[in-house]
């Protein structure tokens, strides 16, 4: 006998993500899901973003890593609330993990939560975490051909940070080819060229994000 199921495979995750999204909206907190490869400068970008926005907004960070708490320690050292999630081998965050972290935070007091997803350009793209926006970082040393290899993450991201632009001459990065490939995949996403460690371009990115937070 055939039984119609017609059920999303990720229904459990998606239902919980919808609950989280409602809680975020009720508390007027903007949630950013940050996607990138290992070593692309996620934590440096978060630190630079905190620096640019901390005068106007109350910020917390949720760090997703397979193991360790080194990233959360770096954030806490800046006087910012940070919760470490260890996924224990899982290659992406799921909404149940985010919920456990959120329950520790005082949502009412917060304006911005940055979710640092596990370093991976593939798996996190399929998982709704209740976020307001997914944003990805690509760093120059990774190469200008990445939109052709990992189209999914470029498509789900509302903005793209091109990090480590100060190293462009060394890595022979073709910025025009990169921008044209991104435009094919995601025509409306702005690209923010930036160097998180020397501060170049951080302001334009921070302004874009601030505008989104104010409207949350």
């Amino acid at each position: 006998m055939q039984i119609d199921v017609k059920q999303p495979i990720l229904q459990k995750n998606d239902t919980l993500a919808a609950e989280l999204r409602k809680r975020f909206a009720e508390n007027h907190v903007f949630v950013l899901d940050l996607l990138a490869s290992p070593g692309s400068g996620k934590t440096s970008t978060i630190l630079a973003t905190i620096d640019a926005l901390r005068d106007e907004f109350n910020i917390a960070v949720i760090e997703g890593d397979i193991a360790s708490s080194v990233d959360a320690e770096k954030i806490k050292a800046q006087g910012i609330a940070a919760v470490q999630i260890n996924t224990g081998g899982a290659c992406h965050l799921e909404s149940a993990m985010v919920k456990r972290a959120i329950d520790i935070l005082d949502l009412e007091r917060l304006d911005l939560i940055i979710l640092e997803n596990v370093g991976n350009l593939v798996c996190p793209t399929d998982f709704d975490l209740g976020e307001n926006a997914k944003v990805m970082i690509l760093s120059v040393p990774e190469g200008d051909d990445k939109p052709l290899k990992y189209p999914g993450v470029f498509q789900v991201s509302e903005a793209i940070i091109l990090n480590k632009v100060d190293t462009m001459p060394v890595f022979n990065f073709d910025k025009e080819a990169f921008e044209s490939a991104v435009k094919q995949l995601n025509p409306t996403a702005p690209i923010f060229p930036m160097s998180a460690t020397n501060g170049e371009g951080v302001q334009a990115w921070a302004e874009w994000l601030a505008e989104r937070i104010r409207n949350a």
């Binding site: 006998m1 199921v5 017609k6 495979i9 990720l10 992406h92 399929d126 189209p151 094919q184 995949l185």
Partner: protein, 124 residues
């Protein structure tokens, strides 16, 4: 490699639906998977084969995966068209303002099960 996690969810949902229908055995699971997702067919099949062994209820089940080609609608000229993973532009008017209408599916469509009374009928 998140297919194992995805497939674990599929097995749980399919097993639950089969039990709810009073089934004795799960025979088949049919899925729709959009090409725009990051779920790879081979990895889903591999995970399915590994997981089904763990329970006599699912051990003989087959997996059928329907791959859904991406398609979009142009928000400017209204054209609807199929495309690959990389080229979303409207082929009619060249507009960037398009909306994906298919290709991100991750769905359990249906299952096939053995019911006790069916088994009895076959035997008699």
């Amino acid at each position: 490699m998140h297919e194992l996690g995805i497939m674990t969810g599929v097995m749980e949902a399919a097993t639950e639906a089969a039990h709810n229908a009073g089934a004795e055995k799960l025979l088949k699971i049919s899925l729709s998977v959009g090409e725009m997702t990051e779920a790879i067919e081979d990895a889903l099949v591999f995970a399915f084969e590994a997981l089904k062994e763990g329970d006599p209820f699912t051990a003989d089940a087959d997996l059928d995966i329907k791959i859904i080609r991406p398609s979009s609608r142009c928000l400017e000229c209204g054209a609807e068209y199929e495309h690959d993973r990389f080229h979303m532009l409207c082929p009619e008017c060249g507009s960037f303002a398009t909306e994906l209408i298919a290709g991100r599916e991750l769905q359990i469509d249906s299952i096939e099960v053995d019911l006790p009374d069916e088994a009895n009928e076959q035997e008699s």
